[in-house]
């Protein structure tokens, strides 16, 4: 350092000033960029459409959820359907498709600020929680008649629309159910039959697991709290355990709940039929892709997996679906009543137009048009599933949806149940994946914490 400086000291001063100037402009540029970034970050997520009901008299704003293979795909599918609605009624629809990561926050923002769309898709498990905000239009007698009467819906599907014994604030739009997808060729090669009980499923999965070849029996979305909590619910339901009592108070630490959660965790821990890497799978698409690319023999997913499986190159006849099995002697619950509901914001300025739109989206024609691209089950009583050409698969899912599904707890604290129990399961899977052990006592302690969190904020 020293010598260089000495030699150059004569000419250095001018050089310094010049580099000073350069540095200063550089600093300014960097500061400006940084500010731009942080401002953009602040604005992120609420580039709210001011069109929320204020423009024109017959334009509805509709927030759709992501049902197809991408947001653009959703837009492509919905646009002609909405155009048909405009032709029939003269009501224009302003469509925005919102990804699942943002949808709940967007709805929250809309409720809080009153800057809301007219009609919105919601995950049906949020129905009771959203109903509690009092921001949505109840489908009372008149409103229900306006959309075609409650008798057109499958009763279990309509039951997800809100708390029991109240006017629902949402009506079913797309039906979904869990099923156990299996690779027919792999099962045939190993001489296996599709499993009818949990024990058979585990035995088959063990036979089809070979870690050395990176071949696994099952793929789990073990890092996704929404997926995890569904399995906590279903496995506990198979043990006849509930998550809330009749007063709406959490009962997470019952024996059936703990054993149900542990049974699911044990797929990775004790049975070792799932790759520990699954603990990082933070959405269902990742596990479905493993199945579609034949890295795993089985995956438990909702029927909308079909579009992803086919998109990844697997053909319709190459996989079969059976109901997600309960342990021998357990309750035959194979799914929760999953799906998407449609809600109208209470503060809409176009109530009649909004109800017309709900009627249109839930009528038999529209349901048939959208059933295939969105791989959904019909929510209407007399409709047939159209999402697959595989008749056996369609029958299986329809059977699960109509007779083997139980609705998630219809209580205002349902959303907290999802986040607390789901995240607790994420953490337990992470512990297992990184070499730790999770015992029944650990599960109970984790569920106790979740229960305390829910109790504290209700």
């Amino acid at each position: 350092m020293g010598p260089i400086r000495l030699r150059r000291s004569a000419g250095a001063r001018d050089g310094t000033r010049e580099s000073d100037v350069r540095l200063r402009s550089l600093v300014a540029a960097v500061a400006a960029t940084a500010m731009g970034i942080s401002l953009a970050a602040c604005g992120g997520g609420d580039k709210d459409d001011s069109s929320g009901g204020s423009t024109g008299d017959q334009t509805l704003t509709y927030w759709a959820s992501n049902q197809g293979t991408s947001l653009d795909n959703d837009k492509e599918v919905l646009t002609p359907v909405l155009q048909k609605f405009t032709q029939e009624t003269g009501i224009k629809v302003n469509l925005e498709v919102i990804g699942w990561n943002d949808l709940q926050t967007r709805i929250q923002t809309a409720i809080t600020s009153g800057q809301a769309p007219d009609v919105v898709n919601i995950g049906n498990t949020w129905a009771a929680s959203l109903q509690a905000t009092d921001a949505f239009l109840p489908f009372d007698g008149d409103a229900m008649t306006a959309i075609g009467g409650k008798d057109k819906f499958v009763p279990t599907a309509l039951a997800t629309g809100g708390k029991e014994g109240t006017d629902p604030t949402s009506v079913p739009l797309y039906g979904l159910a869990y099923g156990l997808y299996y690779n027919k060729a792999m099962f045939a090669a190993a001489g296996l039959q599709p499993p009818k009980t949990w024990e058979e499923m585990v035995a088959a999965a063990k036979k089809l697991t070979n870690p050395a070849k990176n071949q696994w029996g099952m793929a789990l979305a073990a890092g996704s709290y929404t997926e995890n909590v569904h399995f906590a619910f279903i496995n506990a339901a198979q043990n006849k355990a509930d998550w809330f009592n009749s007063d709406g108070k959490p009962t997470f630490t019952g024996d059936g709940n703990v054993q149900g959660v542990l049974r699911y965790l044990d797929l990775m821990q004790k049975d070792k039929v799932a790759n520990p890497s699954n603990a990082q799978y933070d959405n269902g698409t990742k596990s479905v892709n493993d199945f579609a690319t034949k890295k795993v023999a089985m995956v438990i997913n909702q029927n909308n997996a079909d579009s992803s499986i086919v998109a990844n190159g697997m053909k319709a006849g190459e996989y079969g679906v059976v109901p997600f099995p309960a342990p021998a002697g357990g309750e035959q619950v194979a799914s929760h009543v999953a799906g998407i509901n449609l809600s109208v914001f209470k503060n809409t300025k176009h109530k009649d137009a909004a109800l017309k739109f709900v009627k249109y989206m839930t009528d038999a024609n529209t349901q048939t048009t959208l059933g295939k691209p969105f791989s959904s089950l019909p929510v209407l009583k007399d409709a047939k599933p159209v999402f697959t050409t595989d008749a056996a698969e369609a029958a299986t899912f329809q059977d699960v949806y109509n007779t083997k599904s139980k609705p998630l707890p219809l209580v205002p604290a349902e959303d907290q149940f999802e986040s607390t129990v789901g995240k607790a399961m994420n953490a337990m899977f992470a512990k297992i994946a990184t070499g730790g052990t999770v015992t029944a006592d650990d599960v109970k302690a984790a569920l106790k914490t979740a229960e305390d969190q829910v109790a504290a904020s209700s």
């Binding site: 350092m1 020293g2 010598p3 260089i4 400086r5 000495l6 150059r8 000291s9 250095a12 050089g15 310094t16 580099s19 000073d20 540095l23 600093v27 960097v30 960029t33 940084a34 970034i37 970050a41 990561n101 926050t105 929250q108 409720i111 809080t112 009153g114 929680s129 509690a132 905000t133 009092d134 921001a135 890092g223 996704s224 709290y225 520990p276 890497s277 603990a279 990082q280 933070d282 205002p412 959303d415 907290q416 986040s419 607390t420 994420n426 953490a427 992470a430 512990k431 994946a433 990184t434 106790k448 914490t449 979740a450 229960e451 305390d452 969190q453 829910v454 504290a456 904020s457 209700s458």
Partner: protein, 321 residues
């Protein structure tokens, strides 16, 4: 600030002579010039802060967010929940606080050391210095989201570059989890440090430009080595810069939200549960904005105490010196 007023003082005479003809304008001009800043400050900082403080005293749950004014008063209830360390919520907050303290201290130290090393290394002129400087600024110029997302890809277990490289070097079996479990904190510190050290570098480099070169020349004539020069010239001369720099780095890291949010997504591990992210989850996932606001106010109080104490201690010391 003080520099600005000092340099501004000698300058005014010329413009003032022109404005003296219009005394009214003269009186109002400073206020008019200040007004936009005051208004913005009011709307961007003061009012939201007051709203936040108000929120911490009401029961703002999902039952009331559609009509805020109907939310009943909670008194100190939200604070009691947040500070009851026998309860799950309080314990969670305490754990998250602990994680954040460790995270901040290590990240600040890491960034400062790296920034200082780079600034010293680029002090002498050499060919290509400009290019190296520019390269060093990349993490800072890159949009935070893109940078952190790239780290997320690199830190994947099966497909990530980090595991691949470690495996090729025979350091690990290439099956390490970086984003879940205990390693999550290490990943978080690395990414946050990577993002932040260039700011330390930039600031220190700017500070070094103002150290008179004669000092170094004199020192090396007296036979002082590089380390001695650094310790006795560079470091003391940079003291005012360092005081501000360390404080700013600490405040930034302590309230860092982007890094855990983008790095972990919705699957954030307990070891990477930083406090701002924890508060976000407490308010948005459970729809309990009252408790979330109470936690934010507690965080604000803590940071104010730390900042106050820091300025008091360092201020006293520099006055003594």
């Amino acid at each position: 600030m003080s520099v600005a007023t000092e340099t501004a003082a000698p300058a005014p005479p010329k413009p003032r002579s022109r404005l003296e003809h219009r005394p009214g304008l003269n009186r109002w001009l400073p206020y008019a010039l200040l007004a936009p800043a005051v208004l913005l400050e009011l709307f961007i900082h003061i009012i939201p802060m007051l709203v936040g403080i108000w929120m911490s005293f009401v029961k703002l749950t999902k039952f009331f967010i559609a009509n805020w004014s109907s939310a009943p008063s909670a008194g100190l209830g939200n604070y009691k929940v947040a500070l009851d360390f026998n309860n799950a919520v309080g314990q969670g907050l305490l754990k998250s606080f602990g994680v954040t303290v460790v995270f901040s201290l290590v990240t600040v130290a890491f960034s400062w050391v790296l920034g200082m090393a780079a600034a010293v290394a680029l002090q002498p002129e050499f060919r290509g210095r400009g290019i190296v400087r520019t390269l060093f600024l990349v993490p800072y110029a890159l949009p935070a989201y893109a940078g952190i997302l790239t780290w997320n890809f690199m830190l994947q277990r099966d497909t990530g570059a980090v595991n691949h490289v470690l495996n090729q070097l025979h350091l690990t079996d290439g099956k390490t989890f970086w984003l879940i479990g205990g390693n999550a904190l290490i990943s978080l510190i690395t990414v946050a440090g990577w993002k932040l050290w260039t700011f330390a570098f930039l600031t220190l480099m700017a500070g070094m430009q103002s150290i008179p070169r004669d000092l170094y020349e004199a020192a090396s004539v007296d036979g002082a080595g590089n380390i001695r020069q650094w310790r006795n010239i560079t470091l003391p001369s940079l003291r005012p810069v360092n005081l501000v720099l360390v404080l700013v780095l600490f405040l930034w890291t302590f309230s860092d939200f982007n890094t855990p949010y983008v790095l972990f997504g919705t699957a954030q591990p307990p070891a990477g549960d930083l406090i701002t992210f924890h508060i976000y989850n407490a308010s948005f996932l459970t729809w309990n904005f009252g408790t979330g606001a109470a936690m934010s106010v507690l965080l604000l109080i803590f940071l104010m105490i730390v900042t106050g104490a820091y300025l008091l201690v360092t201020g006293r010391r520099s006055r003594r010196a």
